[in-house]
């Protein structure tokens, strides 16, 4: 009887298990904007090597699989840490007459298959736990796209992944030259996505598409932004990471700026959000220079002071206070550069418009500066009446500041 039962139930038990697994696998997808996946897609389309930093087990491989599907590329995964340097630089194979024919360096099978396919996504996992000699060999794969005697075709894109030093107990850090060649993306899991996914609904990201009609405009935009910034801030062009904390991460160099330029153009052509661009640019030239580039791009988005002066009545001022003040300051600076009666009047009209459409305290500084630009023969425009409230506001702030300073001094004198 027992014998009989085992014979019958062994396949059935597995069959039941199979059914349960099928049920667990059964999940749906929902559309969701995924900033980090969008950034990854753009960097891969831009043909730049990407390095994903993330704790083990948070879905880097899953993201790569989704990316490969959406770009319609076959995925090849290579765990860097279990290979030897010669697996990437090629194994010597002796032929008949080595002195005459040389010794070719034979590539491993996965490389041969990649080249034969002509296209694919090469995923180098566990990069930071690979020993330095292996990392050095990988440098050639990533940069020159060569594996032994094989040259990877242009259709192959490379993505690497690494665990952050804090979680990789036996990891090595990346050397600055290797780090400088990657777009570093910090990979984090989204709590909501995980919870919903385990509940049976995984996100389905709609990935960016480059708009063919925007290409030249995007290149122009990216060049103006990057060149404008670097012309004004030469110190940002090259800065080796100084502190221990920033080794192995993104840092600015002419090479990484070129990557930043390319990524800006791609993000612009794809119509991606600034958050996506922020991830990409900061992952390429580092946080500080990246944020400066983003600020420079933001300034390029602000209305041109000359256009505002030409038609103050229909001026469209930014809603955000700090940007609005930057625009008004730029307008006053433009008047100072070329002081003419009509421009001065137009600037007053703009200030009036600013007071009527937003917070009044922003106008105080530009108004004071503009008033100081007055020439003797220029009459004060009638519209200035409407700025009277601003003057009161400024006085009120002055008085309040004086009171506060006095109070502070009194408290200090009284010894609290």
């Amino acid at each position: 009887m027992p014998e009989h039962a085992t014979n019958l139930s062994a396949p059935t038990r597995l069959g039941v298990a199979e059914a349960l697994l099928d049920l667990l696998r059964d999940s749906t997808t929902e559309p969701r904007t995924d900033t980090q996946l969008e950034a990854l897609t753009l960097a891969v389309s831009a043909d730049l090597p990407v390095l994903l930093w993330g704790e083990p087990g948070i879905g880097k491989t899953a993201a790569l699989t989704q990316l490969a599907t959406s770009l319609d590329l076959p995925l090849t995964t290579v765990i860097a840490s279990v290979h030897e340097p010669s697996d990437f630089s090629g194994l010597p194979v002796v032929g008949d007459d080595p002195a005459e024919q040389g010794i070719p360096m034979a590539p491993p099978d996965w490389a041969v298959r990649l080249v034969r396919a002509g296209r694919g996504l090469l995923f180098l996992d566990e990069l930071s736990t690979a020993p330095p000699a292996v990392q050095a060999a990988l440098l050639r794969v990533v940069l020159e796209r060569r594996i032994g005697a094989l040259q990877l075709p242009p259709g192959v894109r490379i993505v690497a992944a690494a665990n952050p030093p804090s979680s990789a107990a036996d990891g090595w850090e990346l050397s600055p030259p290797l780090a400088n060649r990657f777009v570093h993306l910090q990979w984090a899991h989204d709590h909501d996505v995980v919870v919903r996914g385990l509940g049976g609904t995984w996100p389905h990201a709609t990935l960016p598409r480059l708009a063919p009609e925007k290409l030249s405009e995007a290149v122009d935009f990216a060049r103006r932004g990057v060149c404008g910034l670097l012309a004004a801030r030469p110190g940002l062009v090259h800065r080796l990471p100084g502190g221990e904390a920033r080794r192995g991460g993104a840092w600015p160099s002419p090479r990484s700026w070129e990557m930043a330029l390319r990524l800006t153009a791609f993000a612009t052509a794809a119509g991606s959000s600034r958050d996506v661009l922020s991830l990409l640019v900061r992952g390429t030239v580092g946080d500080g220079p990246g944020l400066e580039l983003l600020a420079a791009l933001d300034r390029m988005d602000l209305p041109d002071p000359e256009l505002l002066l030409a038609d103050p009545a229909h001026a469209d001022l930014p809603q955000r206070g700090d940007l609005r003040q930057a625009v008004l300051d730029a307008v006053v600076a433009a008047v100072r550069n070329r002081p003419e009666r009509s421009r001065w009047d137009a600037a007053w009209a703009l200030l009036v418009r600013a007071v009527e459409t937003g917070a009044p305290d922003l106008v105080v500084v530009p108004a004071t500066t503009l008033a100081a630009l007055r020439r003797e023969d220029w009459d004060v425009p009638a519209s200035i009446e409407r700025l009277a409230g601003t003057v009161g506001l400024s006085r009120r702030a002055d008085r309040s500041l004086a009171r506060a300073t006095r109070t502070a001094r009194d408290t200090a004198r009284a010894g609290r």
């Binding site: 000699a133 206070g321 700090d322 702030a397 309040s400």
Partner: protein
């Protein structure tokens, strides 16, 4: 002047102007706040999207100079990322619920209020400071959070509400992520970056707390253990340290290429010598923790205990100890340090060490030339490093660690 119940915009914005004049380096952040009139907020509050909710009644009954202080206070919550840090603390320590969030708000207020007022800003009435809770000044929110509980002392603070911008807990009156006029994450970072840049450009104008914030705003300080580990590891694993090609044994792969003699890569575990500064200025606790750390790391890179040696060093370096007896190493010394003696003694050892790790507070002369091995310096922080003073030589400035060493700040 204004209808009862309506917001006195002039007063509110005069206060913001006052705040911007008193703290020019914060003006970008102050102006970037989007004001929302709300009758449900007790006073003023911010959400994580940089909206500032203002109660008209509160504006009416508060003097302009106090309002200016509140503006700076609220914007400080956002600049210092209190909502993000609260969420992180909540996740790490498992603190949740309204009570815990109130505690976070109080702790965040303590962090801000101890150095934000004065110099043209009046402390608003009822502002919570560490003194009210009997806590020391100048600490971070995370530290304050460990030091007090809700109780009679905090009774008067239960109305305190700076919004989700201060403690990460969404309020019913907030507009949320989908509401209008919020700042996106990138915009928030850009504003914070701009402010940090303004402070680092003219550090003289900003108090110490703000300068510290500006230095760390975009570079979270990394734990020294990881940094020291990475430095030792890369020193131990770099080419030349303990590994080389040898023809003494065939390579594993020789079988695949008959007729060719391939060298094999042989690795002997690296020898690490830890030079320990035992001068009076380094405490035993500091030394103990750093020594343990180095031992653990060198074991992780394949070092054996008998290959790790320790060398206590003050003005002289008497003897080298094997770490087999780590417990028994006499960390004797005190007085001045001369690390040059320590280096000389460490390099004299045969076989020579592959790596020298120096644990010191840096108040020492350094060797003039680069030693013939990799050097990692674990540096204990000294508050007055720049102002160190020598009785015999008032102009004496202690040398900084040389450029050829990899330096990790410990502590």
């Amino acid at each position: 002047m204004t209808a009862p119940g309506a917001l006195d915009r002039d007063k509110l914005f005069a206060a913001r102007l006052h705040a911007a004049r008193a703290r020019p380096y914060l003006s970008t952040a102050l102006f970037a706040l989007h004001t929302v009139v709300s009758r449900q907020v007790p006073t003023m509050a911010v959400d994580r999207h940089w909206r500032c909710y203002v109660s008209p009644g509160f504006v009416d009954r508060t003097p302009v100079e106090e309002l200016a202080g509140v503006w700076v206070h609220e914007v400080s919550h956002l600049l210092r990322d209190h909502h993000g840090r609260s969420d992180r603390v909540a996740g790490e320590r498992g603190l949740d619920g309204p009570g815990e969030r109130l505690r976070m708000n109080i702790a965040a207020d303590c962090e801000i209020n101890d150095d934000v007022f004065g110099e043209g800003l009046v402390r608003p009435e009822g502002a919570v400071g560490p003194a009210v809770l009997g806590l020391p000044e100048g600490e971070l929110m995370e530290d304050y959070l460990r030091q007090f509980r809700l109780g009679p002392r905090t009774q008067s603070m239960s109305w305190l509400d700076c919004g989700s911008g201060a403690d990460g807990l969404e309020r019913p009156w907030e507009l949320g992520a989908d509401g209008a006029d919020g700042l996106s994450e990138q915009e928030r970072d850009a504003v914070r970056f701009r402010v940090a840049q303004g402070i680092t450009a003219r550090p003289g104008n900003a108090p110490k707390g703000w300068r510290r914030w500006a230095e760390e705003a975009f570079h979270a300080p990394q734990p020294w253990r990881e940094l020291l580990g990475a430095a030792v590891r890369s020193a131990a694993s770099g080419p030349g340290a303990g590994e080389d090609y040898t023809y003494g044994r065939p390579a594993r792969r020789s079988a695949g290429v008959p007729g060719v003699v391939l060298p094999s890569l042989r690795r002997r575990p690296p020898r690490v010598c830890v030079v320990i500064d035992t001068s009076g200025s380094v405490s035993d606790a500091e030394l103990g923790s750093a020594l343990l750390e180095v031992t653990a790391i060198s074991r992780a890179v394949g070092g054996r205990r008998d290959l790790v040696t320790a060398l206590p060093c003050d003005a002289a370096a008497p003897s080298v100890h094997s770490l087999c007896r780590a417990e028994g190493i006499p960390l004797v010394g005190g007085g001045g340090t001369d690390l040059r003696a320590g280096f000389a003694r460490a390099l004299r050892a045969r076989p020579a060490p592959d790596i020298v790790v120096v644990l010191t507070d840096g108040q020492t002369p350094w060797p003039r030339t680069r030693p013939a091995c990799r050097t990692v310096v674990g540096l204990f922080p000294r508050a007055g490093r720049a102002r160190s003073w020598d009785e015999d030589d008032p102009d004496h400035v202690p040398d900084t660690p040389p450029a050829w060493a990899r330096v990790v700040e410990i502590g």
